[in-house]
Symmetry: D2
Subunit: 136 residues, 4 copies
């Protein structure tokens, strides 16, 4: 079991989480993993010989890494959320994961690192989408 | 002139920024400053004797620091924005700066550090608001 | 296989990593996981009734989260490391994981979240230590 | 007066900072500013036509942004430092600011954004150096 899941299971019992702990743990893990994959993909892209083709991918990965990291950090502290903060943040995360996943997918046939990064983006996009559905 | 403003003035001339550079520099600076102030206020809050009263403030400052830092980072790379990413991110930033500013303001009469942090939140909220107005 | 491990396996073959990919992937994952656990533990600590006892733990978790996140990010881009940068960064990571792990361990008997966080700190401390051994 | 300086002046009087507040505020501001400048320079570098020449600069800016941001965050919470954590962290910050400043300086004659970024790196390197001198 991931630390994220274990931590959510260890809160004092009088703390009421208004989202399912499994769904929350899934989005925290997916966002943290996606931040890592996008950071790594930036570096891998910069090692490719046809750099001009990779610029859009690098830029999207940089934004995706920053937004996923902030999302994972904020969602990891669920004791006292403000819905009007968390909702647009997770919406921004869905949007950048879509754009970054689309771009990485185009490079996936040639670059294995972009294929892996696209997977990470898709998983995060999906996990964030489920989270938004249950939190409304 | 701040580095943020200087950097925006140094881009190649064929790069078209679709927002006013002054407004953009102002929101980058305000968000970066607010991230710093909120981080510092967390620490100052934890030094206060009546800790239970400061818990909400600490929590909001932690979220505000993370979201402002991500906002400053993403806005600092304006060459190729995706409006559907930037808009909800800045909306999340406005929302957390409002909530964190409101909470800090309540503690301002007793704690000078909360007064300073409230100022930083208000300035960031205002700068983000202006940015959202011109980017639509 | 983690994204971190997959990404390291997907670099172009003419890129020479001067550390073992398994060891590197282990430290990236451990640092990213520890950053998440420490962020979550901050929030869990703030939910405890005896707050004054948790202040040291909260402070260490905040520093540990920031330093582990930076370590994971820098190590995730291994194509062109500067040894004189990476070494002190990972040393700082070892030091904070030791201190944070020690503090969390003291609270582990009463607080399950501190037990989980101590585990994450110990694993990161160990992974960073192995990394420092092989990189010299 | 910057928020960083104001926050340091607002701590409860019985809190003993073991470093001069002016020096500490200077390094916090310099590190936060350098993180912003390096993030912006990454984006500006990616807009240049001769991309292959900019790869080393982009990579150093990415590491410099992450390490400076972590340094600014940790130093912004000075109530309870651990010297064995802060010292190597600031040493890593000096090292990356030196390397990144050297690289940016080489591009400064052609790229104004690299000149600005080099200035930010030099200022942070100097501020960190002074901090290390007084903290020993």
């Amino acid at each position: 079991m991931s630390y994220a899941r274990q931590m959510l299971g260890s809160y004092r019992s009088d703390l009421t989480l208004d989202v399912d702990a499994e769904v929350l743990a899934a989005v925290i893990e997916a966002a943290a993993d996606c931040a890592q994959a996008c950071g790594a993909d930036t570096d891998a892209d910069l090692s490719e010989p046809h750099l001009a083709e990779m610029v859009a991918c690098i830029r999207l990965c940089l934004d995706c890494a920053d937004i996923c990291a902030a999302t994972a950090a904020v969602l990891s502290r669920p004791a006292s959320w403000h819905r009007r903060v968390v909702r647009p943040l997770v919406e921004a995360c869905v949007a950048i994961c879509q754009s970054c996943g689309d771009e990485c997918e185009q490079h996936a046939p040639r670059h294995a690192h972009c294929r892996v990064c696209a997977e990470a983006c898709r998983r995060c996009e999906k996990a964030c989408g489920e989270f938004l559905t249950i939190m409304k």
